[in-house]
Protein backbone atom coordinates (compact mmCIF):
# COMPACT_ATOMS: atom_id res chain seq x y z
CA UNK A 1 0.00 0.00 0.00
CA UNK A 2 2.72 2.34 1.08
CA UNK A 3 4.69 1.55 -2.00
CA UNK A 4 1.72 2.41 -4.20
CA UNK A 5 1.26 5.72 -2.44
CA UNK A 6 4.90 6.67 -2.74
CA UNK A 7 4.84 5.86 -6.42
CA UNK A 8 1.34 7.17 -7.08
CA UNK A 9 2.44 9.49 -9.86
CA UNK A 10 4.05 6.67 -11.75
CA UNK A 11 1.14 4.28 -11.10
CA UNK A 12 -1.42 6.86 -12.20
CA UNK A 13 0.62 7.61 -15.29
CA UNK A 14 0.61 3.90 -16.14
CA UNK A 15 -3.12 3.73 -15.38
CA UNK A 16 -3.90 6.45 -17.92
CA UNK A 17 -1.53 4.92 -20.43
CA UNK A 18 -3.33 1.61 -19.95
CA UNK A 19 -6.70 3.33 -20.28
CA UNK A 20 -6.08 4.86 -23.67
CA UNK A 21 -4.29 1.76 -24.95
CA UNK A 22 -7.53 -0.09 -24.13
CA UNK A 23 -10.10 2.48 -25.18
CA UNK A 24 -8.72 3.32 -28.61
CA UNK A 25 -8.78 -0.31 -29.86
CA UNK A 26 -12.27 -0.67 -28.41
CA UNK A 27 -13.57 2.32 -30.32
CA UNK A 28 -11.75 1.42 -33.52
CA UNK A 29 -12.86 -2.21 -33.25
CA UNK A 30 -16.47 -1.20 -32.70
CA UNK A 31 -16.54 1.26 -35.58
CA UNK A 32 -15.09 -1.31 -37.96
CA UNK A 33 -16.95 -4.35 -36.70
CA UNK A 34 -20.44 -2.82 -36.89
CA UNK A 35 -20.50 -2.22 -40.64
CA UNK A 36 -18.70 -5.50 -41.38
CA UNK A 37 -21.08 -7.41 -39.11
CA UNK A 38 -24.04 -5.68 -40.71
CA UNK A 39 -22.77 -6.66 -44.13
CA UNK A 40 -22.20 -10.26 -43.03
CA UNK A 41 -25.72 -10.48 -41.63
CA UNK A 42 -27.07 -9.36 -44.99
CA UNK A 43 -25.04 -11.73 -47.12
CA UNK A 44 -25.34 -15.25 -45.73
CA UNK A 45 -22.85 -16.56 -48.27
CA UNK A 46 -20.11 -14.16 -47.22
CA UNK A 47 -20.99 -14.51 -43.56
CA UNK A 48 -19.00 -17.72 -43.09
CA UNK A 49 -15.92 -16.29 -44.78
CA UNK A 50 -15.98 -13.00 -42.89
CA UNK A 51 -16.49 -14.63 -39.52
CA UNK A 52 -13.91 -17.30 -40.38
CA UNK A 53 -11.29 -14.63 -41.09
CA UNK A 54 -12.18 -13.07 -37.75
CA UNK A 55 -11.65 -16.34 -35.89
CA UNK A 56 -8.32 -16.96 -37.59
CA UNK A 57 -7.09 -13.47 -36.73
CA UNK A 58 -8.04 -14.07 -33.15
CA UNK A 59 -5.92 -17.22 -32.90
CA UNK A 60 -2.69 -15.31 -33.67
CA UNK A 61 -0.88 -15.06 -30.30
CA UNK A 62 -0.81 -11.46 -29.16
CA UNK A 63 2.92 -11.40 -28.53
CA UNK A 64 3.61 -12.63 -32.04
CA UNK A 65 1.41 -9.90 -33.43
CA UNK A 66 3.07 -7.20 -31.31
CA UNK A 67 6.48 -8.28 -32.54
CA UNK A 68 5.68 -8.67 -36.24
CA UNK A 69 3.51 -5.58 -36.68
CA UNK A 70 6.42 -3.09 -36.85
CA UNK A 71 7.71 -5.01 -39.85
CA UNK A 72 4.32 -4.89 -41.52
CA UNK A 73 3.15 -1.33 -40.82
CA UNK A 74 6.60 0.24 -40.46
CA UNK A 75 6.35 1.49 -36.90
CA UNK A 76 9.18 1.50 -34.38
CA UNK A 77 9.55 -1.47 -32.08
CA UNK A 78 8.60 0.43 -28.94
CA UNK A 79 5.77 2.36 -30.60
CA UNK A 80 2.53 2.00 -28.57
CA UNK A 81 0.79 2.05 -31.94
CA UNK A 82 1.76 -1.60 -32.37
CA UNK A 83 -0.31 -2.52 -29.35
CA UNK A 84 -3.19 -0.30 -30.45
CA UNK A 85 -3.28 -1.80 -33.93
CA UNK A 86 -2.92 -5.37 -32.70
CA UNK A 87 -5.67 -4.99 -30.14
CA UNK A 88 -7.90 -3.27 -32.68
CA UNK A 89 -7.50 -6.31 -34.88
CA UNK A 90 -8.55 -8.59 -32.01
CA UNK A 91 -11.44 -6.31 -31.15
CA UNK A 92 -12.72 -6.39 -34.74
CA UNK A 93 -12.17 -10.14 -34.92
CA UNK A 94 -14.38 -10.79 -31.90
CA UNK A 95 -16.94 -8.08 -32.47
CA UNK A 96 -17.67 -8.89 -36.10
CA UNK A 97 -19.29 -12.11 -34.99
CA UNK A 98 -21.32 -10.43 -32.28
CA UNK A 99 -22.30 -7.63 -34.64
CA UNK A 100 -23.54 -10.13 -37.22
CA UNK A 101 -25.53 -11.89 -34.49
CA UNK A 102 -26.80 -8.53 -33.27
CA UNK A 103 -28.19 -7.53 -36.64
CA UNK A 104 -29.66 -10.98 -37.18
CA UNK A 105 -31.42 -10.70 -33.82
CA UNK A 106 -33.49 -7.76 -35.07
CA UNK A 107 -37.02 -8.98 -35.79
CA UNK A 108 -37.76 -9.11 -39.53
CA UNK A 109 -41.35 -8.11 -38.74
CA UNK A 110 -40.15 -4.85 -37.22
CA UNK A 111 -37.97 -4.13 -40.23
CA UNK A 112 -40.86 -4.91 -42.55
CA UNK A 113 -43.06 -2.58 -40.56
CA UNK A 114 -40.49 0.22 -40.75
CA UNK A 115 -40.25 -0.19 -44.51
CA UNK A 116 -44.02 -0.18 -44.84
CA UNK A 117 -44.20 3.00 -42.77
CA UNK A 118 -41.98 4.70 -45.32
CA UNK A 119 -38.46 4.52 -43.90
CA UNK A 120 -35.85 4.71 -46.64
CA UNK A 121 -33.23 1.97 -46.33
CA UNK A 122 -30.72 4.45 -44.93
CA UNK A 123 -33.15 5.78 -42.32
CA UNK A 124 -34.04 2.25 -41.43
CA UNK A 125 -30.40 1.26 -41.00
CA UNK A 126 -29.58 4.05 -38.57
CA UNK A 127 -33.00 4.57 -37.03
CA UNK A 128 -34.16 1.00 -36.53
CA UNK A 129 -31.55 -1.68 -37.19
CA UNK A 130 -28.64 -0.10 -35.34
CA UNK A 131 -30.56 0.77 -32.15
CA UNK A 132 -32.31 -2.59 -32.06
CA UNK A 133 -29.00 -4.39 -32.52
CA UNK A 134 -27.72 -2.24 -29.65
CA UNK A 135 -28.26 -4.57 -26.69
CA UNK A 136 -26.39 -7.45 -28.33
CA UNK A 137 -23.68 -5.08 -29.60
CA UNK A 138 -23.28 -3.83 -26.06
CA UNK A 139 -22.92 -7.36 -24.74
CA UNK A 140 -20.19 -7.90 -27.33
CA UNK A 141 -18.27 -4.74 -26.58
CA UNK A 142 -18.33 -5.53 -22.87
CA UNK A 143 -16.61 -8.84 -23.51
CA UNK A 144 -14.04 -7.19 -25.76
CA UNK A 145 -13.48 -4.45 -23.22
CA UNK A 146 -12.42 -6.91 -20.54
CA UNK A 147 -10.23 -8.93 -22.87
CA UNK A 148 -8.58 -5.79 -24.29
CA UNK A 149 -7.75 -4.40 -20.87
CA UNK A 150 -5.99 -7.61 -19.95
CA UNK A 151 -4.23 -7.96 -23.31
CA UNK A 152 -2.75 -4.45 -23.04
CA UNK A 153 -0.54 -5.68 -20.23
CA UNK A 154 1.13 -8.16 -22.58
CA UNK A 155 2.47 -5.10 -24.40
CA UNK A 156 4.74 -4.51 -21.40
CA UNK A 157 6.80 -7.50 -22.55
CA UNK A 158 7.82 -5.58 -25.68
CA UNK A 159 8.37 -2.41 -23.68
CA UNK A 160 5.12 -0.55 -24.24
CA UNK A 161 4.34 0.97 -20.86
CA UNK A 162 1.06 0.13 -19.16
CA UNK A 163 -0.03 -1.28 -15.82
CA UNK A 164 1.51 -4.46 -17.19
CA UNK A 165 4.90 -2.81 -16.70
CA UNK A 166 4.32 -3.24 -12.98
CA UNK A 167 4.17 -6.99 -13.60
CA UNK A 168 7.39 -7.13 -15.59
CA UNK A 169 9.16 -4.83 -13.14
CA UNK A 170 7.86 -6.58 -10.07
CA UNK A 171 8.83 -9.92 -11.53
CA UNK A 172 12.33 -8.79 -12.36
CA UNK A 173 12.82 -7.28 -8.90
CA UNK A 174 10.98 -10.17 -7.22
CA UNK A 175 8.73 -7.56 -5.59
CA UNK A 176 5.23 -8.91 -5.02
CA UNK A 177 3.58 -5.64 -3.94
CA UNK A 178 4.24 -4.06 -7.31
CA UNK A 179 2.64 -7.00 -9.09
CA UNK A 180 -0.42 -6.83 -6.84
CA UNK A 181 -0.78 -3.09 -7.46
CA UNK A 182 -0.66 -3.73 -11.19
CA UNK A 183 -3.27 -6.43 -10.86
CA UNK A 184 -5.60 -4.29 -8.78
CA UNK A 185 -5.18 -1.41 -11.23
CA UNK A 186 -6.15 -3.62 -14.14
CA UNK A 187 -9.18 -5.02 -12.37
CA UNK A 188 -10.32 -1.53 -11.39
CA UNK A 189 -9.90 -0.28 -14.95
CA UNK A 190 -11.83 -3.24 -16.34
CA UNK A 191 -14.66 -2.69 -13.86
CA UNK A 192 -14.81 1.05 -14.50
CA UNK A 193 -14.94 0.60 -18.27
CA UNK A 194 -17.62 -2.05 -17.90
CA UNK A 195 -19.68 0.18 -15.62
CA UNK A 196 -19.38 3.02 -18.14
CA UNK A 197 -20.54 0.73 -20.92
CA UNK A 198 -23.51 -0.45 -18.90
CA UNK A 199 -24.37 3.14 -18.07
CA UNK A 200 -24.11 4.16 -21.72
CA UNK A 201 -26.43 1.28 -22.56
CA UNK A 202 -28.97 2.44 -20.01
CA UNK A 203 -28.91 5.97 -21.35
CA UNK A 204 -28.89 5.10 -25.04
CA UNK A 205 -31.29 2.16 -24.89
CA UNK A 206 -33.91 2.96 -22.27
CA UNK A 207 -36.41 0.62 -23.89
CA UNK A 208 -34.25 -2.42 -23.22
CA UNK A 209 -34.94 -2.25 -19.49
CA UNK A 210 -38.59 -2.92 -20.26
CA UNK A 211 -38.02 -5.75 -22.68
CA UNK A 212 -38.50 -9.43 -22.02
CA UNK A 213 -34.81 -10.00 -21.72
CA UNK A 214 -34.49 -7.33 -19.07
CA UNK A 215 -36.95 -9.21 -16.90
CA UNK A 216 -34.74 -12.29 -16.79
CA UNK A 217 -31.86 -12.93 -14.45
CA UNK A 218 -29.17 -10.26 -14.48
CA UNK A 219 -26.62 -12.27 -16.46
CA UNK A 220 -29.06 -12.51 -19.33
CA UNK A 221 -29.88 -8.86 -19.23
CA UNK A 222 -27.28 -7.86 -21.72
CA UNK A 223 -26.16 -11.12 -23.24
CA UNK A 224 -28.28 -13.18 -25.55
CA UNK A 225 -27.41 -16.88 -25.63
CA UNK A 226 -25.12 -16.61 -28.62
CA UNK A 227 -23.22 -13.73 -27.12
CA UNK A 228 -22.62 -15.65 -23.96
CA UNK A 229 -20.98 -18.30 -26.12
CA UNK A 230 -18.73 -15.93 -28.01
CA UNK A 231 -17.98 -14.34 -24.65
CA UNK A 232 -16.60 -17.57 -23.27
CA UNK A 233 -14.53 -17.96 -26.37
CA UNK A 234 -13.10 -14.47 -26.04
CA UNK A 235 -12.31 -14.77 -22.36
CA UNK A 236 -10.70 -18.16 -22.89
CA UNK A 237 -8.65 -16.76 -25.73
CA UNK A 238 -6.76 -14.15 -23.78
CA UNK A 239 -5.36 -16.55 -21.21
Amino acid sequence: MEWAWRNRDQVLELFWQHTWLSVVPLVVGFLLAVPIGWYASRHPRLRGTLLGVGSVLYTIPSLALFVTLPGIIGTGFLDPLNVVVALSIYAVAIMVRTAADAFESVSPAVLDSATATGYSSRQRGFGVELPLAGPVLLAGIRVVSVSTVSLVSVGALIGVASLGSLFTNGYRRDFLTEIVVGLVGIVVLALVLDALLVLAGRVLMPWDRHSERAKGPFWRRFAGGRVAESGTMALGGDA
Partner: protein, 270 residues
Protein backbone atom coordinates in the same frame (compact mmCIF):
# COMPACT_ATOMS: atom_id res chain seq x y z
CA UNK B 1 -60.14 4.62 -56.28
CA UNK B 2 -57.91 1.57 -56.28
CA UNK B 3 -57.96 -0.72 -59.27
CA UNK B 4 -56.45 -4.16 -59.73
CA UNK B 5 -56.06 -5.05 -63.41
CA UNK B 6 -55.29 -8.72 -64.17
CA UNK B 7 -52.86 -8.76 -61.29
CA UNK B 8 -50.76 -11.86 -60.71
CA UNK B 9 -47.96 -12.66 -58.31
CA UNK B 10 -45.53 -15.54 -58.48
CA UNK B 11 -42.81 -15.35 -55.83
CA UNK B 12 -39.18 -16.02 -56.78
CA UNK B 13 -39.41 -19.47 -55.16
CA UNK B 14 -42.16 -20.40 -57.62
CA UNK B 15 -45.16 -20.02 -55.29
CA UNK B 16 -48.08 -18.62 -57.20
CA UNK B 17 -49.88 -16.51 -54.58
CA UNK B 18 -52.24 -14.75 -56.99
CA UNK B 19 -53.18 -16.04 -60.44
CA UNK B 20 -55.19 -13.22 -62.00
CA UNK B 21 -57.11 -10.72 -59.93
CA UNK B 22 -59.40 -7.90 -60.98
CA UNK B 23 -61.18 -5.52 -58.63
CA UNK B 24 -62.23 -1.92 -58.28
CA UNK B 25 -62.26 -0.37 -54.83
CA UNK B 26 -64.32 2.83 -54.74
CA UNK B 27 -62.99 5.80 -52.80
CA UNK B 28 -64.22 6.46 -49.27
CA UNK B 29 -65.54 2.97 -48.75
CA UNK B 30 -64.36 -0.04 -46.82
CA UNK B 31 -63.47 -3.13 -48.80
CA UNK B 32 -62.71 -6.34 -46.94
CA UNK B 33 -60.65 -9.21 -48.33
CA UNK B 34 -61.69 -12.38 -46.58
CA UNK B 35 -60.52 -15.92 -47.13
CA UNK B 36 -58.73 -18.75 -45.45
CA UNK B 37 -55.06 -18.75 -44.62
CA UNK B 38 -52.67 -18.54 -47.56
CA UNK B 39 -55.21 -17.46 -50.15
CA UNK B 40 -53.24 -14.34 -51.01
CA UNK B 41 -54.94 -11.59 -48.99
CA UNK B 42 -51.76 -10.08 -47.60
CA UNK B 43 -50.05 -10.32 -50.96
CA UNK B 44 -52.90 -8.41 -52.61
CA UNK B 45 -52.96 -5.79 -49.87
CA UNK B 46 -49.24 -5.16 -50.00
CA UNK B 47 -49.38 -4.53 -53.73
CA UNK B 48 -51.10 -1.23 -53.03
CA UNK B 49 -48.10 0.29 -51.24
CA UNK B 50 -45.53 -1.64 -53.25
CA UNK B 51 -44.39 -3.83 -50.40
CA UNK B 52 -45.02 -6.47 -53.05
CA UNK B 53 -44.65 -5.76 -56.76
CA UNK B 54 -47.01 -7.78 -58.97
CA UNK B 55 -45.37 -10.08 -61.47
CA UNK B 56 -48.25 -9.50 -63.90
CA UNK B 57 -50.86 -6.79 -64.37
CA UNK B 58 -51.15 -3.42 -62.72
CA UNK B 59 -52.41 -1.77 -59.57
CA UNK B 60 -53.69 1.78 -60.04
CA UNK B 61 -54.50 4.45 -57.51
CA UNK B 62 -56.66 7.18 -59.00
CA UNK B 63 -55.68 5.97 -62.48
CA UNK B 64 -51.94 6.12 -61.78
CA UNK B 65 -50.01 2.86 -61.93
CA UNK B 66 -48.24 2.49 -58.57
CA UNK B 67 -45.28 0.90 -60.37
CA UNK B 68 -44.44 4.39 -61.65
CA UNK B 69 -44.36 5.85 -58.12
CA UNK B 70 -41.37 6.05 -55.80
CA UNK B 71 -42.01 3.28 -53.26
CA UNK B 72 -40.81 5.23 -50.20
CA UNK B 73 -42.94 8.27 -51.04
CA UNK B 74 -45.90 6.03 -51.84
CA UNK B 75 -45.65 4.24 -48.50
CA UNK B 76 -45.50 7.51 -46.63
CA UNK B 77 -48.75 8.56 -48.27
CA UNK B 78 -50.61 5.38 -47.37
CA UNK B 79 -51.54 4.21 -43.87
CA UNK B 80 -50.64 0.61 -43.11
CA UNK B 81 -51.79 -1.25 -40.02
CA UNK B 82 -49.99 -4.52 -39.67
CA UNK B 83 -50.96 -7.79 -38.16
CA UNK B 84 -49.58 -7.86 -34.57
CA UNK B 85 -49.27 -4.06 -34.69
CA UNK B 86 -45.60 -4.14 -35.87
CA UNK B 87 -44.56 -1.26 -33.61
CA UNK B 88 -40.96 -0.22 -33.18
CA UNK B 89 -39.98 -1.62 -29.79
CA UNK B 90 -37.32 1.01 -29.14
CA UNK B 91 -39.55 4.05 -29.59
CA UNK B 92 -42.17 5.25 -27.16
CA UNK B 93 -45.80 4.91 -28.19
CA UNK B 94 -46.09 8.59 -29.04
CA UNK B 95 -42.91 8.45 -31.14
CA UNK B 96 -44.12 5.37 -32.95
CA UNK B 97 -47.13 7.35 -34.08
CA UNK B 98 -45.21 10.57 -34.71
CA UNK B 99 -42.62 8.74 -36.83
CA UNK B 100 -44.86 8.67 -39.87
CA UNK B 101 -45.31 12.42 -39.65
CA UNK B 102 -41.61 13.03 -39.05
CA UNK B 103 -40.80 11.00 -42.16
CA UNK B 104 -43.22 13.22 -44.04
CA UNK B 105 -41.26 16.26 -42.87
CA UNK B 106 -43.51 17.53 -40.08
CA UNK B 107 -41.72 19.38 -37.28
CA UNK B 108 -41.06 17.63 -33.99
CA UNK B 109 -43.55 19.56 -31.86
CA UNK B 110 -46.35 19.44 -34.38
CA UNK B 111 -45.81 15.74 -35.01
CA UNK B 112 -45.99 15.02 -31.29
CA UNK B 113 -49.12 17.04 -30.85
CA UNK B 114 -50.82 15.34 -33.74
CA UNK B 115 -49.69 11.93 -32.45
CA UNK B 116 -51.29 12.58 -29.06
CA UNK B 117 -54.44 13.69 -30.83
CA UNK B 118 -54.74 10.49 -32.91
CA UNK B 119 -53.87 8.38 -29.88
CA UNK B 120 -56.77 9.88 -28.00
CA UNK B 121 -59.00 9.25 -31.01
CA UNK B 122 -58.27 5.54 -30.66
CA UNK B 123 -58.79 5.72 -26.91
CA UNK B 124 -55.27 5.95 -25.49
CA UNK B 125 -54.40 8.65 -22.99
CA UNK B 126 -51.22 10.62 -22.46
CA UNK B 127 -49.78 8.37 -19.76
CA UNK B 128 -49.93 5.42 -22.13
CA UNK B 129 -48.30 7.42 -24.88
CA UNK B 130 -45.13 7.70 -22.81
CA UNK B 131 -44.70 3.94 -22.51
CA UNK B 132 -42.79 1.59 -24.75
CA UNK B 133 -44.86 -0.82 -26.90
CA UNK B 134 -43.65 -3.75 -24.81
CA UNK B 135 -45.40 -2.25 -21.80
CA UNK B 136 -48.84 -2.26 -23.43
CA UNK B 137 -51.38 -5.04 -23.74
CA UNK B 138 -51.99 -6.64 -27.12
CA UNK B 139 -55.21 -4.69 -27.60
CA UNK B 140 -53.56 -1.40 -26.72
CA UNK B 141 -50.73 -2.13 -29.12
CA UNK B 142 -53.22 -2.70 -31.88
CA UNK B 143 -54.82 0.64 -31.11
CA UNK B 144 -51.41 2.24 -31.43
CA UNK B 145 -51.04 0.46 -34.76
CA UNK B 146 -54.31 1.98 -35.93
CA UNK B 147 -53.27 5.41 -34.64
CA UNK B 148 -50.00 5.13 -36.53
CA UNK B 149 -51.88 4.24 -39.69
CA UNK B 150 -54.09 7.29 -39.27
CA UNK B 151 -51.43 9.75 -38.13
CA UNK B 152 -50.49 11.26 -41.47
CA UNK B 153 -54.17 11.53 -42.41
CA UNK B 154 -53.72 9.33 -45.49
CA UNK B 155 -56.50 8.89 -48.02
CA UNK B 156 -55.89 5.17 -48.11
CA UNK B 157 -55.64 2.93 -45.11
CA UNK B 158 -54.48 -0.67 -45.47
CA UNK B 159 -55.29 -2.93 -42.54
CA UNK B 160 -53.95 -6.49 -42.38
CA UNK B 161 -55.82 -8.48 -39.73
CA UNK B 162 -55.35 -5.54 -37.39
CA UNK B 163 -57.50 -7.09 -34.68
CA UNK B 164 -56.14 -10.60 -35.04
CA UNK B 165 -54.27 -10.77 -31.76
CA UNK B 166 -56.96 -9.68 -29.33
CA UNK B 167 -59.74 -11.45 -27.49
CA UNK B 168 -63.25 -11.46 -29.00
CA UNK B 169 -64.61 -8.74 -26.71
CA UNK B 170 -61.84 -6.24 -27.39
CA UNK B 171 -62.12 -7.22 -31.02
CA UNK B 172 -65.79 -6.21 -31.16
CA UNK B 173 -64.89 -2.99 -29.39
CA UNK B 174 -62.16 -2.18 -31.90
CA UNK B 175 -64.47 -3.00 -34.79
CA UNK B 176 -67.11 -0.64 -33.44
CA UNK B 177 -64.50 2.03 -33.03
CA UNK B 178 -63.26 1.59 -36.55
CA UNK B 179 -66.81 1.96 -37.86
CA UNK B 180 -67.25 5.12 -35.82
CA UNK B 181 -63.92 6.48 -37.08
CA UNK B 182 -64.80 5.69 -40.65
CA UNK B 183 -68.02 7.73 -40.50
CA UNK B 184 -65.87 10.66 -39.35
CA UNK B 185 -62.84 10.17 -41.54
CA UNK B 186 -64.15 8.83 -44.83
CA UNK B 187 -61.00 6.97 -45.81
CA UNK B 188 -60.61 4.37 -48.49
CA UNK B 189 -60.00 1.34 -46.31
CA UNK B 190 -58.78 -2.02 -47.51
CA UNK B 191 -59.15 -4.49 -44.69
CA UNK B 192 -57.93 -8.09 -44.51
CA UNK B 193 -59.38 -10.73 -42.23
CA UNK B 194 -60.17 -14.40 -42.22
CA UNK B 195 -63.19 -13.86 -40.01
CA UNK B 196 -66.37 -13.61 -42.08
CA UNK B 197 -68.29 -11.93 -39.25
CA UNK B 198 -65.67 -9.22 -39.05
CA UNK B 199 -65.86 -8.86 -42.83
CA UNK B 200 -69.63 -8.41 -42.72
CA UNK B 201 -69.38 -6.05 -39.75
CA UNK B 202 -66.98 -3.67 -41.45
CA UNK B 203 -67.22 -4.02 -45.21
CA UNK B 204 -69.23 -1.93 -47.62
CA UNK B 205 -67.82 -4.34 -50.17
CA UNK B 206 -66.70 -7.83 -49.23
CA UNK B 207 -64.38 -9.88 -51.43
CA UNK B 208 -64.42 -13.59 -50.70
CA UNK B 209 -61.22 -15.21 -51.89
CA UNK B 210 -60.24 -18.76 -52.69
CA UNK B 211 -56.71 -20.14 -52.98
CA UNK B 212 -54.51 -18.29 -55.46
CA UNK B 213 -56.38 -15.03 -55.01
CA UNK B 214 -59.33 -16.34 -57.01
CA UNK B 215 -62.46 -14.28 -56.37
CA UNK B 216 -65.36 -16.42 -55.18
CA UNK B 217 -67.75 -13.49 -54.82
CA UNK B 218 -67.73 -9.70 -54.52
CA UNK B 219 -70.60 -7.72 -53.09
CA UNK B 220 -72.27 -6.00 -50.18
CA UNK B 221 -72.68 -8.27 -47.14
CA UNK B 222 -76.46 -8.41 -47.50
CA UNK B 223 -76.21 -9.32 -51.19
CA UNK B 224 -73.76 -12.11 -50.47
CA UNK B 225 -76.02 -13.51 -47.80
CA UNK B 226 -79.07 -13.19 -50.07
CA UNK B 227 -77.39 -14.67 -53.13
CA UNK B 228 -74.29 -16.70 -52.42
CA UNK B 229 -72.57 -17.32 -55.75
CA UNK B 230 -71.90 -20.99 -55.13
CA UNK B 231 -71.66 -23.72 -52.51
CA UNK B 232 -68.17 -22.60 -51.50
CA UNK B 233 -69.46 -19.13 -50.61
CA UNK B 234 -72.58 -20.50 -48.93
CA UNK B 235 -70.47 -22.72 -46.73
CA UNK B 236 -67.84 -20.02 -46.14
CA UNK B 237 -70.39 -17.50 -44.87
CA UNK B 238 -72.06 -20.21 -42.82
CA UNK B 239 -75.32 -20.50 -44.76
CA UNK B 240 -75.04 -24.26 -45.03
CA UNK B 241 -76.23 -26.37 -42.09
CA UNK B 242 -78.56 -23.54 -41.12
CA UNK B 243 -75.72 -21.60 -39.58
CA UNK B 244 -77.18 -18.20 -40.32
CA UNK B 245 -80.87 -18.93 -40.68
CA UNK B 246 -83.10 -17.14 -38.24
CA UNK B 247 -86.82 -17.56 -37.75
CA UNK B 248 -89.47 -15.69 -35.84
CA UNK B 249 -91.36 -17.09 -32.88
CA UNK B 250 -94.25 -15.48 -31.01
CA UNK B 251 -93.56 -15.03 -27.27
CA UNK B 252 -96.06 -13.21 -25.10
CA UNK B 253 -97.28 -11.14 -28.01
CA UNK B 254 -93.81 -10.13 -29.25
CA UNK B 255 -91.93 -11.46 -32.25
CA UNK B 256 -88.66 -13.00 -31.07
CA UNK B 257 -85.97 -13.89 -33.61
CA UNK B 258 -84.47 -17.29 -32.93
CA UNK B 259 -81.47 -18.93 -34.58
CA UNK B 260 -81.19 -22.47 -35.93
CA UNK B 261 -80.29 -23.97 -32.57
CA UNK B 262 -83.23 -22.26 -30.85
CA UNK B 263 -81.25 -19.48 -29.11
CA UNK B 264 -82.89 -16.03 -29.17
CA UNK B 265 -80.99 -13.53 -31.32
CA UNK B 266 -83.22 -10.49 -30.71
CA UNK B 267 -86.65 -8.98 -31.02
CA UNK B 268 -88.32 -8.09 -34.32
CA UNK B 269 -89.49 -4.46 -34.36
CA UNK B 270 -92.39 -3.09 -36.43
Amino acid sequence: MIEYRSVGKTFPDGTQAVASFDLTIPSRTTTVFVGSSGCGKTTLLRMVNRMVDPSAGQVLIDDVDVATQDPVALRRSIGYVMQHAGLLPHRKVVDNVATVLRLNGTGKGAARERALEVLSTVGLDESQSRKYPGQLSGGQQQRVGVARGLAADPNILLMDEPFGAVDPIVRLELQAELRRLQTQLDKTIVFVTHDIDEAFALGDQVVILKKGGEVAQVGAPADILAQPADDFVASFVGLDKGGRSLHVEEREGRKVVVDASGRPAGVLEG
